[in-house]
Amino acid sequence: MNEADSISPWAQSWYRLKQHRMAMLGLILLSIIGLLCLIAPWLTSYTYREQNIDLGAIPPCAEHWLGTDTLGRDLFTRILYGGRISFMVGLIATAVSLLIGVPYGALSGYLGGRTDRFMMRVVEIIYSLPYTIFVILLMVVVGRGLLPLLLAIGAVEWLAMARLVRGQVLAVKEQEFVQAAHVLGQSNFKILSKHIIPNVLGTVIVCATLTVPSVMLLESFLSFLGLGIQAPMTSWGDLIKDGVVTLEEYPWMLIFPSIFFSVTLFSLNFLGDGLRDALDPRVEAAR
């Protein structure tokens, strides 16, 4: 935070990010996949639910670029529509883990002592409750649809983040510059947001990018329990789960969804690394 240059820190970060080749590649790939999912209806002549049962399980060909599933639905179309769902839950989970997990963990670590112990015990309790039952109960109380899905994801996706951030903050808050800020009489809020959180940002970003794959797979478990999306709508986790069963007979049903899933995660990850470098005030611009 000791930049005295004329350019704003944000512009500087963006500049640094642009220098980071892998991060830019990740950003571009992510944008392409995201765009493909978004404009799916204009991209293919099929819909996600339209079946041609006689053309079930055919390998990639001219009409069906990525083949069809057992019900004769175009796999490419289904991957794109499924991507919308997966992106959505990924975004929600990241938002939840950032908005709840980071402040919660930071506060817990920063305040320390009894408050810390109390807040961490709360995390332990939520972590230990049987999730399957929780989800089933949630559907009874709240019904089905988007809201309970948000709640089901929101209830657990911030816990790991909170513990991680708390562990980091415990160490950071004892460092000289934080002590100095105390001496200078800065408010707790300011110390947390200006000094402590920026210093644990690297961990936060890594953790956030790791949340995405786990929540994309969690979503398929939730739809197993009847929460969230319903057939014939699909998601990547769903497609992968289906594809595994017939991985010898119809390998394309596993391979193509997995490729989309993996490319997204790889991109996200390199973008995350780039962001970390770019936002870290102490690191000189990466090569």
């Binding site: 892998m22 015990r121 332990e124 513990r163 160490a171 004892e174 961990t203 890594v206 993996s262 690191v283």
Partner: protein
Amino acid sequence: MLSFIIKRILEAIPVLLIIITATFFMIRLAPGGPFDAERALTEEAMERLNAYYGLDKPLFEQYTQYLGNLFRGDLGPSLKYPGFTVSEIIFEKIPISMELGLYAFCLAMLFGVTAGVCASLRPNTWLDYSTMSFAMTGICLPSFVLGPLLLLVFALHFEWFNASGWMSGTDKILPTITLAVYLAATLARITRGSMLEVQSQDYMRTAKAKGLPGWRVHFIHGLRNALLPVVSISGPALAGLISGSFVVETVYHIPGLGRFFVQAAFNRDYSMILGTVLFFAVLIVMFNLLVDIVLAWLNPRIKITQST
């Protein structure tokens, strides 16, 4: 330190009590009961079963009774396995899950941390990218894909291993790998990130400036601090691994505890759900305490005993 540990253990009691209470009422409010089956029982038959197990009493009375039994160390009879008690099944399965979980944890620690450190030594080079890509592949392959894939290649194609079971030493290799990969990959990513973070800290620069040899700086000062987040997530991770993994145990047919966690919920085997949840909660509380102690040991600046 000792007083801190005692305090934490005392704190665990209300924590466990809350978990048990919440779980008890959650499972009883969830639709479906232990005796619902495809072939529906008559109402009278259902009532008799409920009465036999005391499930017809007021919920609160059942709750206090359960707590009372729990206090005496009795987890009750299993509803899904009539004739067996919850504790005998859990205690029979713990060693298996614990063995698998510990192998996987060690493997993940070994490979994950090493990979993370290697990548962080040369950030943004081919070494970094290839190590991290490898880690990412691990994250992109969920265990329900990786398990069947490994079996297909190594058990069915090359015929090096059995496709199921938990008998001989070789049976344990593929499940260990399957279970370890995700954690290893996560640890690699976190270690790398946190090593990079630490390297830019002032005290590292100071150490370098003092002319200490590079490896010493990295491993003594760097790793020690960089391991903080690794330790933070290891507690819950280890608890998760030891309490078993449903997917891995199902794919490899391992008679561990993980299947009971999931199936007890699906069977509405009330006493079994409570038993497994209690076991998991104890692990979580225990390992989190351990984590806090290790954190303080790694970084003496962290004062765990302060009570402001």
